[in-house]
């Protein structure tokens, strides 16, 4: 592509000269036209020649020196930080970082007064809404004791993240189980796990151990982002070691002190796949990421540079080894890998989580150390700046809206609190009352690239038909046409949905497109609808 453009330039240049000459011969008063165009072309040719020459010289030098050094072409494109050390780097040009106020301060506090935890069956995509609950209110459980299982897949147990008393089994709509709530002990008691030696045991043995002891739900399968099926052997297992979403937690902080467990988790995962365990590493910052990621053994490492959604594992998969229709790959979060590793290194189900409390409506945005499924009331106690807020489990782009008496979702390690936006604004579309995050250059925001904003939940306009084109493409760094995919889903064009790459997408990947959408279309909802349709049919 680049080459053909290059060639086209020469053709255009030739035509330019040709017409110049022609124009001169035809009416005689355009003589001044030929010389400048000739000069410009000669100048371009000299520059291109010099550039190629220097590039070759540089390449020659580095080859002789035995060093691996990028050629000028790649240098011109971006500055690859030195800590990458010659590893494979993927530079993504598309995307956008939404900068919000309410970044957490960089130290982790132990949340001692967070005592209530819950496991919510609704968090697990693909689980039947009424699982078989094994405990009753009042029962004592240890961390790692099974709480419930899906009747369709009885081998997969969902376990208690902490020890203590089961205080409630709450039901939601249509008798579904909403949450199993546990009041935690002061000192967590763990059930001793009889972990097999993963170096020697068979894959089946390993799988049944993980299923029986609560580690299986950590593994999610792509396409569709559902619980992994033990019958499948994944092509690869992908782990993104950084999160690029707005106000996302710094995973280097999260892994600090748990490096060994993380490595142990990687070792175990290696036994589950026929391919490789692949880490996506962060090459955006000036400092190298944690050595737990950069020095990890038994894993392939790819560096990524760019803007959100560069940290999404789906985007990384697309650039490392894209998912084909029949392929299954698995993904895990970093903290899930740590818990999984600790089941072997510490022989207990240690569901400790570092959670980032973020957002402009918190008095003190911070990191806290707690356990899976912590109570939001207790997490946010005395920290809310006002009452009229939106509490989100996850980030502002693809998180879940939560009531304050609810619990953090199973896969989330972030709580975001922002202002509710239910206010009218006089001529707000023309002259907004305050600056707000936007990708549009019709606002003066683009003059302040590093400014952080207080966002609220106002939609800033009403839903409209798809009008603007080419907008989504700028915010999805994949070889996919999102708008055409969305339209295909809306008209149930099954063949096109498949062909346009729905298998490579989950909701979080199109969240940025949804944010930017001028017509306020619900892209994540549409995509989920499409995923479910394809999932049912396939």
């Amino acid at each position: 592509m680049r080459n053909s453009i290059f060639r086209l330039t020469w053709v255009a240049a030739f035509l330019l000269v040709a017409t110049g000459t022609w124009a001169q011969s035809s009416d005689g008063n355009n003589g001044s036209f030929t010389l400048p165009s000739l000069l410009i072309i000669v100048a371009i040719a000299v520059l291109v020649y010099l550039y190629q020459k220097s590039d070759n010289v540089l390449a020659l030098e580095t080859r002789e020196g035995g060093k691996k050094s990028p050629r000028t072409r790649s240098l011109a494109r971006s500055k690859v930080p030195s800590y990458v050390n010659g590893g494979p780097v993927k530079l993504l040009k598309k995307g956008y970082d939404i900068l919000l106020e309410g970044e957490p301060s960089k130290e982790v506090q132990v949340a001692t007064d967070v005592r209530t935890f819950a496991v919510q069956p609704g968090n697990f995509p693909g689980l039947s809404p009424i699982p078989k609950v094994l405990v009753e209110a009042g029962a004592e459980v240890k961390a790692g004791d099974p709480l419930f299982f899906d009747k369709n897949r009885p081998e997969v147990q969902y376990v208690a993240p902490v020890s203590g008393e089961v205080v409630a089994v709450n039901r939601g709509t249509k008798r579904s189980i909403a949450e199993v709530v546990i009041l935690a002990d002061k000192d967590i008691k763990y059930r001793q796990l009889d972990a097999p030696d993963y170096g020697k045991c068979s894959r089946e043995e390993l799988v049944s151990f993980l299923q029986a002891n609560g580690a299986w739900p950590f593994i999610r399968q792509r396409p569709f982002n559902v619980l992994a099926d033990a019958q499948d052997v994944p092509v690869n297992i992908f782990i993104s070691t950084f999160d690029s979403a707005p106000l996302a937690p710094d995973l280097n902080l999260v892994v600090a002190g748990r490096e060994a467990a993380f490595q142990e988790g990687l070792n175990v995962l290696n036994k589950l796949t026929s391919g490789k365990v692949i880490l996506g590493l962060d090459a955006r910052g000036t400092e190298a990421p944690s050595s737990a990621f950069t020095q990890a053994a038994n894993a392939d490492k790819y560096w990524f540079q760019g803007k959100h959604p560069v940290g999404n594992v789906g985007v990384q998969i697309h650039h490392i080894a894209p998912i084909n229709n029949s392929d299954k790959v698995w993904t895990l979060g970093v903290q899930d890998v740590i818990t999984l590793g600790a089941m072997f290194s510490e022989r207990r189900f240690n569901a400790e989580r570092v959670v980032a409390l973020t957002g402009a409506e918190l008095k003190q945005p911070k990191y806290v150390r707690t356990y899976l499924g912590a109570s939001l009331t207790e997490l946010l106690k005395d920290n809310l700046a006002s009452d009229h807020v939106r509490i989100i489990s996850g980030d502002v782009l693809s998180g879940d809206q939560k009531n304050q008496d609810s619990y953090l979702n199973f896969y989330d390690d972030q709580v975001t609190v922002i202002k509710e936006g239910d206010y009218f604004e006089a001529f707000g579309w023309l002259t907004p009352s305050e600056m707000r995050p936007t990708v549009s250059r019709t606002f003066r925001n683009f003059l302040f690239p590093n400014r952080r904003y207080k966002a609220d939940t106002n939609t800033h306009g009403e839903k409209r038909a798809f009008v603007v084109t080419g907008q989504y493409e700028d915010f999805l760094p994949m070889d996919i046409y999102p708008q055409h995919l969305m339209k295909a889903i809306l008209v149930n064009d099954f063949e096109k949905i498949e062909g346009l790459g729905i298998y490579e997408l989950v909701e979080e990947d199109v969240a940025l497109c949804e944010f930017a959408c001028t017509s306020k279309q619900p892209l994540q909802k549409i995509l989920r609808q499409g995923l479910e349709m394809v999932h049912e049919q396939g």
């Binding site: 040709a18 017409t19 022609w22 124009a23 035809s26 939404i98 084909n324 392929d327 989100i392 502002v396 782009l397 693809s398 998180g399 879940d400 809206q401 975001t416 922002i418 509710e420 936006g421 239910d422 009218f424 604004e425 001529f427 707000g428 579309w429 023309l430 995050p437 936007t438 250059r441 019709t442 606002f443 966002a455 609220d456 939940t457 106002n458 939609t459 800033h460 306009g461 009403e462 409209r464 009008v467 603007v468 084109t469 080419g470 070889d479 046409y481 055409h484 062909g499 790459g501 969240a511 949804e514 944010f515 001028t518 017509s519 306020k520 619900p522 892209l523 994540q524 909802k525 989920r528």
Partner: protein, 426 residues
């Protein structure tokens, strides 16, 4: 201010069930004055970009402001130029402006009232909010009309374009053909004498016994005469003055079609053409402001630079090709001079870049623009009856845009299938 505005609107809110049309109308103005208090819900994004369709459409209208002003002034300028009065650009500027406003304002009002009326009615029938698309279409339509177009013809054309061209396909975002161009095309085929030939591009003239003279001025001109009289300025008078000797009213394009570039330069200087002081459709002549507007739209990221660039390349390519061929005088018009004649730039900045009717894939946009440039020049050079190609070229490519997109999308699908089959083979 906000609370008062809100109170006022709450007070006048009509009942939705009893009078749906009124309520739709009300809702349109309400959401215009106050951005609603709707919030994001449940799953999906919790924050939304500050950009919405109202702002997008308004920005396009803002980009056209220069064309509005110069276009209006040029109506008066051309009128007096034909009469041989006030030949300097700024001579009698108030008379020229007044004449321009008298001609242009009714066109704008009729286009907007008729078009928006139909939009409102359909929105109330379908029970959804009013989409902002017609803000731009309604601003574009008067700019691509000759200044003397009868208002009833304009009204008919707008009705046709909005109902057949847009609402029949499902409203904003669903139309296949550009609404503004469709209204022009309607007039072009239904009432061709009002929009083609040499006689329609200068306003306020009539032919009596084969001789052009200015029309009898009406009440609007007399009103301005009274106002100018207070300040001791010049007046329109009664009208009925003869035109200057040798006046033809021909546009550069019709001259070029007959006699090539030399015939054009005999009548109009290059700088007059560049600055838009020539007869033509109202908005198309003000080239510098069109260029500024186009650059503005590219700068803020609303219009596609791909379409504009590739269209310019298409024009240049085709122009050069014909220059080399050079069989007829119109083929010999230097390719770069095509840019300052007729509606090329206007079509490039505002018509071809319509996102709904254009190609929607990045690669598709390049082809789309290039082919518009190609066909536009072909029509311009070869069509003896009507030497302007952009309306027909763009409408033609509107029809083919889905096909272009189909090929681009299909190649993406094929790429994916190929990758999958390669993976299974390996």
């Amino acid at each position: 201010m906000k609370d008062q505005l809100l109170k006022f609107f709450k007070k006048i809110e009509p009942d939705k069930k009893k009078s749906p049309f009124l309520h739709t109308l009300y809702d349109g103005f309400f959401t215009f004055a106050l951005v609603p208090d709707s919030v994001t819900k449940g799953k999906g994004v919790h924050v939304r970009d500050g950009m919405d369709l109202k702002r997008t459409m308004t920005m396009v209208v803002v980009a056209m402001l220069g064309s509005f002003v110069i276009g209006t002034y040029n109506i008066g300028h051309q009128h007096f130029l034909a009469l041989g009065q006030y030949t300097g650009l700024m001579d009698g500027w108030y008379l020229k402006l007044a004449h321009g406003v008298i001609k242009f304002l009714p066109l704008y009002v009729v286009a907007m009232v008729v078009g928006l009326g139909i939009e409102f009615w359909y929105a109330s029938k379908k029970g959804h909010g009013i989409e902002e698309g017609f803000l731009v279409s309604g601003a574009l339509i008067p700019l691509i009309m000759p200044p003397d177009i009868p208002l009833w013809i304009l009204a008919f054309s707008v009705i046709f374009a909005v109902i057949i061209g847009k609402e029949a396909f499902g409203g904003t975002g669903m139309n296949i053909l550009n609404v503004a161009l469709l209204s022009r095309a309607f007039i072009f085929f239904a009432y061709p004498t009002f929009i083609s030939g040499d006689e329609v591009w200068v306003s306020g003239l009539e032919k009596i016994d084969g001789v052009y003279q200015s029309v009898q001025y009406g009440w609007a001109h007399h009103m301005f005469d009274a106002i100018f009289g207070w300040f001791g300025g010049d007046k329109f008078g009664a009208g009925g003055m003869a035109v200057v000797d040798g006046f033809s009213g021909a546009t550069p394009l019709s001259l070029a079609a007959k006699g090539g570039w030399e015939a054009v330069t005999q009548v109009y200087s290059t700088s007059d053409m560049l600055w838009g002081l020539i007869p033509g459709s109202i908005g198309e002549t003000a080239k510098p402001f069109i260029i500024l507007g186009g650059l503005f739209l590219i700068g803020v990221g609303i219009a596609s630079w791909r379409i504009m660039l590739s269209m310019a390349l298409g024009v240049a390519f085709t122009g050069i090709l014909f220059n080399m061929w050079g069989a007829t005088p119109s083929m010999g018009v230097p390719w770069y001079d095509h840019f300052i004649m007729g509606g090329l730039l206007f079509a490039m900045a505002y018509m071809a870049t319509d996102p709904v009717t254009g190609a929607s894939t990045p690669v598709g946009k390049l082809w789309y623009g290039f082919l518009i440039g190609f066909f536009g020049i072909v029509i311009r050079v070869f069509n003896p009856a009507y030497p302007e190609g952009w309306m027909l070229a763009i409408l033609l490519m509107n029809v083919f845009a889905p096909l272009i997109d189909h090929f681009v999308v299909q190649s993406n699908i094929n790429r994916r299938t190929k990758r999958a089959s390669k993976a299974t083979a390996a």
